[in-house]
């Protein structure tokens, strides 16, 4: 079982219409500058390598990069830790995790939960044996203890549930159809009232 590379993962997500935030994989400073220009500041830089599973463990994420100068110095720092860097647009919103895996008994299962610290500490998620329909995906979200947080409280607008639901359904379809894929993690997915985008993702496949 192995982690598939960024470009292949991006291709699979694109195939299933799973939106990801604008991201470029770069290996040189020049490429990084061009990418940041295209995306527009502020940007995020993230160390990238097939062997890096938990980026935060190696302090491989630098956010809030506002200009070329900051970009250059951050790029240098990250290249000491990895063979490449992701330049990524900055999106603000609520963190969500969406994932799927193959259970030894029931086959593909799909999970959606609150992301970030909620994933690690509160473990607020709901789970289904795939396939899940849009109706079922809605129920999964309503089951979350943090549903009200996503629905918005005190005058805050709800996140774009329609997009979120369609991503859950797509992840379910993806695992059912792509037999060589064992596990997928979209973590975090960032959701706000307008859009829902996968920011980080990991796809594990058999063999490779």
């Amino acid at each position: 079982m192995g982690l598939i590379n960024f470009q292949s993962a991006e291709k699979i997500l694109f195939k299933y219409k799973i939106p990801i935030c604008r991201t470029f994989f770069v290996v040189s400073e020049k490429e990084a500058l061009i990418a940041a220009e295209k995306i527009g500041y502020p940007v995020f830089l993230k160390a990238y390598g097939k062997d890096i599973l938990h980026r935060t463990d190696i302090k491989g994420v630098i956010g809030g990069i506002n200009n070329e100068k900051e970009l250059k110095s951050s790029f240098k720092k990250l290249m000491k830790k990895a063979k490449g860097v992701l330049v990524q647009e900055t999106i603000f919103g609520k963190e969500i995790i969406i994932g799927a895996k193959r259970d030894s008994q029931f086959g593909p299962v799909v999970l959606v939960g609150l992301g970030g610290i909620f994933t690690e500490i509160i473990k607020d998620f709901s789970l289904r044996v795939a396939p899940v329909s849009a109706v079922e995906a809605r129920l999964m979200l309503k089951e979350l203890q943090g549903y009200d947080y996503l629905a918005g409280s005190r005058g805050e607008k709800p996140i774009n549930f329609k997009s979120l639901v369609s991503i859950v359904v797509s992840v379910s379809n993806l695992l059912i159809k792509e037999k060589e894929i064992e596990e997928i993690d979209l973590n975090p997915v960032i959701a706000n009232e307008k859009k829902v985008l996968a920011v980080d993702f990991k796809i594990l496949s058999y063999g490779k």
Partner: protein, 451 residues
Amino acid sequence: MVNKLGRIFNPRTAAIIGATDRIGSVGAGLVKNMLLGEGERKVFLVNPNQNEIFGRKTFPIITDIPEVVDLAIVAVPASIVLKVVEDCCKKKVGGIIVISAGFSEIGSKGEKIQNELAEMTCRAGIALVGPNCLGIINTKNNLNASFAPATPPKGNVALISQSGAILDILADKAAEENYGISSMVSYGNEAGVTLTDFLKSFAEDVETKVIALYLEGLKDGRKFMEIAKRIVSKKPIIVIKAGKNYEGQRAIKSHTGTMAGDYQVYKSAFKQSGVIETDSLEELLDVSKILALESKCENSVAIITNGGGCGVLAADYCKSQGINLAELSKDTISRISGSAEMPSLWSKSNPIDIVGDASPARYKVAIEAVLSQKNIRGLIIIQTPQIMTDPLENAKIIVEAKRLFPKKPIVCFFLGGKMSSEAIKFLEDNNIPNYGELKRGIIALRALTRY
């Protein structure tokens, strides 16, 4: 019960191979249990080493029995099971239960013999239950083809268990606490008849209203879900799942992999297929009992009590279980207040506290008024044993009320002990569930309001 299990559950003749009178043996247990139902079928004992068992003539081999044999029960050492089952196939028996252990559960060597066993019976077109099981019970026709220590009373709950010992407990407990059972099955290693075959068969069984299941693991999770989904639209399936450990040892590669552990997936699968999951064996029986005796109702109930404290506790449990307490209508309040039996200090709200010295007549007024209120769909009746309480008379009033309002479930809590035992028996003989503990019964009631 129709289908291929018909002759196993309803045999007119049965043979026990490995029958013996040796005290403490499986063979002797089987003989003892099978002879209990001798009025309904002929029982033949097979043992090549003993001419007589309990004063009855034995046959050295099943093929010597001069009649058709519907059910063959095999309890011989694993090493000779194949030979014995081959004889059963020659005899063209209707079905075989292999009690003997020593098959796939002991490793690859046992698994090989088990596969041969499965192949042989499959080729002969004979249903095979087990191996490595306790056997089966069908209370309707007094069939106890198991070595369980007790025979449960007749009723409408089918119990299926992966573990034989758990079935022993449930059989004994059902006998002690008067839980009505239609059938019991220990399905063992599923070499022939599988769990899903039993589920399908109980779905069709007219005696069975509820299917209760003790489960450790499934052989085919998706098939289970598909069949369970179909059955629960007709009758409820209640499950207790043992082995809730998470996939802790696995290398942590993704968050999804870590969180979606084995048990979490089972839990989701139960929920998706409409199977009701319970937390303990007691809860499994409690929930099964209420679903077997009462019909489902809308989520709006009332509590009548002769003890304020118990009323408050019951209301708390209802709240935590998501059971809604209805508001009393003006009509109901004035009807109760208008009765000469009722003291002015009754609670006038739900829970309806009719005060400690409540007489049977006072219970009657409250019960009838409350059940007459349309939007009250179910009723909890609590009786604390006070010196002026008349449990049996109260039980009779409840049975009468049930007759008048058959569609509204009533759950009783005749609390305490000895003072109410006769009344409780009267209630249950009249199909009204009683629980000795508020929380247990209210958890069970939840299954009624949500199923």
